[in-house]
């Protein structure tokens, strides 16, 4: 299954809704999307992973890369994820300590920490 991406603005943040598989084959598309958003001046990103079926380390790497980019502009990158098998991958790589992970887009939009 392929990657699907859709972008919208909500409460001053940019929400990227991701669906399908983020893997070594499709991660470059997600990377392009994030780079483009930052280049266009969107520094507060929310990546909604609720529709993601599969995530590998290449996908993690792209998210980490996105985080670095927004941080360079004092921005933020928040994740929305409640799927246990996806959360597990963030946990075993220690990335739950790097990304703020929320249970809904609403929660992420309102977060101020």
């Amino acid at each position: 299954m392929d990657l699907s991406l859709s972008t919208r603005t909500e409460g001053g943040r940019t929400v990227v809704e991701v669906g399908g598989e983020i893997d070594v084959y499709t991660a470059p598309k997600l990377r392009e999307q994030l780079v483009e958003l930052v280049n266009d001046g969107s520094y507060h990103l929310i990546v909604d992973m609720e529709g993601v079926d599969f995530l590998d380390s290449t996908g993690l790497g792209v998210l980490v890369g996105g985080l670095k980019r927004v941080r360079a502009h004092e921005g933020s990158l928040r994740l929305v994820c409640t799927q246990e098998r996806i959360l597990k991958i963030f946990r075993i790589t220690g990335l739950t300590k790097v990304f703020p992970i929320h249970t809904s887009v609403e929660e992420a939009v309102n977060a101020t920490d």
Partner: protein, 158 residues
Amino acid sequence: MAIVELRFTALPEHVRTARLVAAAVARRAGVAESVLDEVRLAVGEACSRAVGLTRQVGADEPVTVTLDDGDGRFSIEVRDAVPQPAVVGAGESGGSVGLPGPSGANGMSLDVAESELGLAVILGLVDELDVRAGADGGSIRMSWPSEKGKIGDDPLGL
């Protein structure tokens, strides 16, 4: 002892084929449904890594995945043909090879995370693991319990 071997040109698209094959063969070998996600992810990581290494050095050699369901375990070996002068070192079963894990992750720099995330995922998922690097290429060997015989029996009776 039934063996399936997949060999492919080092391209990202074929990593998906490897995941597909590993999950299908693992299921038939009697690996528990709950573990199939792990198998799929781990073999994908090992293959992504092999593909990346091969492409970094511009090599033509294929990546080889060997699936074996003998002796009550389902094992997968992923091999590349890129000479690695002990870059990675050999990790013993479940051993830590100085990679970012849940424990040491607190003050972890993002650079470390990005460079060896693949191995970190494998280390986090797989208990029985053996990572080797040598002059003739690297290999990652992983295994899981299986119920060989229950499903793998031959119903054809040829």
